[in-house]
C-alpha cells in the first residue's frame, strides 16, 4: 500500500521530487527562469547521494537535449527540464529525440518568448514545440505537475509508444507558488515507474544497431514518420491506461479531458493549465446564480483528445476557448484551432469563440473569466458572437 505525505511545496520542488523517485540514469540540463529550481533541487539530490544519476552540466539547452539524446540512445532513462528560450533553443533536437524514438522525459516551465523580454507565464514556448512529436501534459496545479511527471515516464517508455514526453507547468504561477501537495513514498513510485529496459541500446554491443541513420530520397524517411504517427495514436490508450493505474494508486482522478459541471452545461470554457482553476472558481459562482456553466480542462495536449472534446462539447449553445499563446495570422490560438477542428464532424454546429489571454503573465482576473461567460450567455440567448479574436483584458489604447 502506498503511503502519502502532504507537503507545502512549490510545483518545481515536487517535479524534482517526482524525477528523483523515478530514478533517471542521466540528467543533462541548463538552468533558466522559472525552471531553475527543478534542476537545482535535482542537482542537490545527486550531490547528497539521494539518487544515483549522472548529472551532466552543459553550456546550453541545445547541448542539454543533445546530451539527453546521446544518453537515451545509449539505453539510459533520461530526464531534463527547461523553459521558454531554452525550449526554443532545443527545437531541432526535439524533433531528433522523437524521430529516434527516445523516451526522454522533460519538464517545461511554461513561459513567454522574447521580444519584448518577459520571464512570466504563457504557453508560447510549448506551442512552438507543438509539432515536434512529444507527448505533452499540462498541469493545473503543483499536484498535477507531480502526477503528470510520474505518468509521463511510463507512457514514454511503453513499447507501443517509445516517444519523448513533456510534463508542463505554468511559470511562476505553478512553478514558484507554494501549494498543498500530496506525494507518495519512494518505493511506490519506483515500482510504478518500473525499470527501463531499452529495446535497441547503442551500448548493447551484442546486438549492434544503427541510430539516426540517413534516410534520403527513396529511403524510409516517409515510413519513419508514419510510424511516429502510429506511436502517437497508440499513446492515446496508453495514457488512459497508465492514468487509470496511477489514479488507483494515488487516489486522485485523471483524464485526458477533465470536466466540471458538464453534465447539464449549456455553455463552457475550454482551457489549459493553471487558469482552469480560476475558470472553475467563477463557474461555481455562476452556477449558484443559475447559469449552466461548465469547464473543460485539456490535461493532455499531445496526442490531442479531439474525440473526447467533441463528446463533451456536443450540443452546447456556446463554447469559449482560452489561449495563452498566439498563432499570428491564424483564425485563433492553437487550442482554439484544435477545438474547432474537433467539433467539425458534429451534426449540429456548436458556436466557438476564441480569446487570447494572459500573455507574458498578464493577471487572469476573475472578472475577465466572468466576462467570457457573459459573452457565452449572450450568444446562447441569440446575440452575435464577438467579431474576431478577443484579446481578453488587453488595455484599450494598445
Amino acid at each position: 500500500m502506498p503511503t502519502h505525505k502532504t507537503l507545502a511545496a512549490t510545483g518545481n520542488a515536487v517535479v524534482a521530487e517526482a524525477m528523483r523517485q523515478c530514478k533517471p540514469d542521466v540528467m543533462a540540463a541548463y538552468p533558466i527562469t522559472p525552471q531553475t529550481t527543478i534542476v537545482e533541487e535535482f542537482a542537490a539530490f545527486v550531490a547528497k547521494g539521494k539518487t544515483h544519476c549522472e548529472y551532466v552540466t552543459v553550456e546550453s539547452e541545445h547541448s542539454a537535449m543533445s546530451a539527453c539524446i546521446g544518453a537515451a540512445a545509449a539505453g539510459a532513462r533520461v530526464m531534463t527540464a527547461t523553459s521558454s528560450q531554452g525550449l526554443a533553443l532545443m527545437w531541432e533536437e526535439l524533433h531528433i529525440a522523437s524521430g529516434m524514438r527516445l523516451p526522454i522525459v522533460m519538464a517545461n516551465a511554461n513561459r513567454a518568448l522574447s521580444a519584448p523580454i518577459n520571464i512570466h507565464c504563457d504557453h508560447s514556448d510549448i506551442m512552438g514545440a507543438r509539432d515536434t512529436g512529444w507527448v505533452t501534459y499540462f498541469a493545473e496545479t503543483a499536484q498535477e505537475a507531480y502526477d503528470n511527471t510520474i505518468m509521463a515516464v511510463r507512457v514514454a517508455e511503453h513499447p507501443d509508444v517509445m516517444l519523448p514526453a513533456m510534463s508542463t507547468l505554468d511559470g511562476f504561477i505553478t512553478t514558484h507558488s507554494i501549494d498543498r501537495v500530496s506525494v507518495m513514498d519512494d518505493e511506490t513510485v519506483a515500482a510504478f515507474a518500473g525499470e527501463y529496459v531499452p529495446k535497441s541500446a547503442l551500448l548493447d554491443t551484442d546486438a549492434p544497431v544503427l541510430h539516426g541513420a540517413f534516410a534520403g530520397l527513396g529511403g524510409p524517411f516517409f515510413e519513419f514518420k508514419k510510424q511516429q504517427r502510429v506511436a502517437m495514436e497508440n499513446a492515446r490508450q496508453v495514457i488512459k491506461d497508465v492514468g487509470a493505474e496511477y489514479s488507483a494508486l494515488s487516489g486522485r482522478p485523471f483524464d485526458v479531458v477533465e470536466t466540471w459541471g458538464m453534465e447539464d452545461a449549456e455553455i463552457a470554457i475550454v482551457v489549459l493549465g493553471s487558469t482552469a482553476g480560476n475558470v472553475r472558481h467563477v463557474a461555481r459562482d455562476l452556477r449558484a446564480k443559475g447559469l449552466k456553466a461548465g469547464v473543460v480542462k485539456v490535461r493532455v495536449w499531445r496526442p490531442f483528445p479531439y474525440a473526447e472534446l467533441a463528446a463533451v462539447l456536443k450540443g452546447l449553445k456556446a463554447v469559449a476557448v482560452l489561449d495563452r499563446a498566439e498563432s499570428f495570422g491564424a483564425e485563433g490560438g492553437p487550442l482554439f484551432l484544435e477545438t474547432r477542428g474537433a467539433l467539425y464532424d458534429l451534426e449540429t454546429r456548436v458556436p466557438v469563440v476564441g480569446y487570447i489571454y494572459g500573455l507574458g503573465g498578464a493577471d487572469v482576473k476573475l472578472e475577465l473569466i466572468e466576462r467570457v461567460y457573459q459573452d457565452l450567455s449572450d450568444i446562447a440567448a441569440g446575440s452575435a458572437a464577438p467579431a474576431g479574436l478577443v484579446y481578453l483584458g488587453a488595455r484599450e489604447e494598445a
Binding site: 502532504t6 507537503l7 507545502a8 522559472p34 520571464i119 512570466h120 505554468d170 511562476f172 504561477i173 505553478t174 514558484h176 507558488s177 507554494i178 501549494d179 498543498r180 493553471s274 487558469t275 482553476g277 480560476n278 472553475r280 472558481h281 493577471d363 487572469v364 482576473k365 476573475l366
Partner: protein, 192 residues
C-alpha cells in the same frame, strides 16, 4: 480557523524576511489541515527594494491563481514604505492592516487611506526583535501580531514549526528568543 478564504499581502523591503514569513504562515496552515498558497511577487530584486509577497489560507481547496487585489490582511514590515507604497490598496472594508512601527495606530490612520471600518494595528516588531533575537528581523514577531488579530493560524502550531525550522541551524536559546518575540508582539500590538 475558518473555512473561509483569507488573503494576506505582505509589504517589506527585500531582505526583511517577508517571503519566508509568507511561507511559514502557509506551512503552519498546512499543519492544521488547511489549504494554502504562498508566493512572492517576482521581478527585478535587490536588497532594500520594496517587495510584496502573498499568502492564501482556506479550509477548502484553493483553485484561484490570480493576484491578490483585495486582501483581508495587509502586513507591513517596514514603516518607511508608508510614504512610497500604497500599502492599503484594495484592502477590504472589514480588513486589517498590521504595521511594524513605533507610531500609534490613530496617528497612522491620519496618513493612510484605509476604509474607516478597517482596523489598523501597530507593533514595534523591530524593537521587539532587537530585544529578543538581537537582530532587526521583524518577520517572526509580526506573525505573533497576525495571530492576535486574525487567528488565521494557530499560535502553538506556529511556534512548533518555528522551533522545527530553527533547530536545523540553532540551539534552544535562539528558539526561546524567537518564541519570546512572537509572544511579545501578540501582547503589545495596539489597534485603532
Amino acid at each position: 480557523m475558518s473555512m473561509q478564504l483569507t488573503e494576506i499581502r505582505w509589504h517589506a523591503r527585500a531582505g526583511q524576511g517577508a517571503v519566508t514569513a509568507a511561507k511559514v504562515v502557509a506551512e503552519t496552515a498546512l499543519a492544521a489541515d488547511q489549504y494554502l498558497q504562498a508566493m512572492p511577487e517576482y521581478g527585478p530584486e535587490r536588497m532594500g527594494a520594496p517587495i510584496k509577497a502573498f499568502t492564501r489560507i482556506s479550509g477548502t481547496p484553493i483553485e484561484i491563481h490570480c493576484n491578490i487585489e483585495n486582501p483581508d490582511v495587509v502586513i507591513v514590515l517596514d514603516d518607511s514604505l508608508l510614504d512610497i507604497v500604497d500599502v492599503a490598496e484594495g484592502l477590504v472594508d472589514d480588513g486589517v492592516i498590521i504595521i511594524n512601527t513605533c507610531t500609534p495606530p490613530a496617528e497612522v490612520r491620519k496618513v493612510l487611506s484605509v476604509p474607516a471600518t478597517a482596523r489598523i494595528a501597530c507593533v514595534d516588531a523591530s524593537g521587539i526583535a532587537l530585544d529578543t533575537i538581537k537582530r532587526d528581523i521583524p518577520n517572526t514577531p509580526m506573525v505573533g501580531a497576525l495571530i492576535k488579530l486574525t487567528g488565521v493560524v494557530d499560535m502553538d502550531s506556529f511556534k512548533g514549526l518555528l522551533a522545527k525550522n530553527l533547530s536545523k541551524k540553532f540551539g534552544q536559546e535562539m528558539i526561546d528568543a524567537n518564541w519570546a518575540s512572537v509572544d511579545r508582539a501578540f501582547e503589545e500590538v495596539t489597534v485603532a
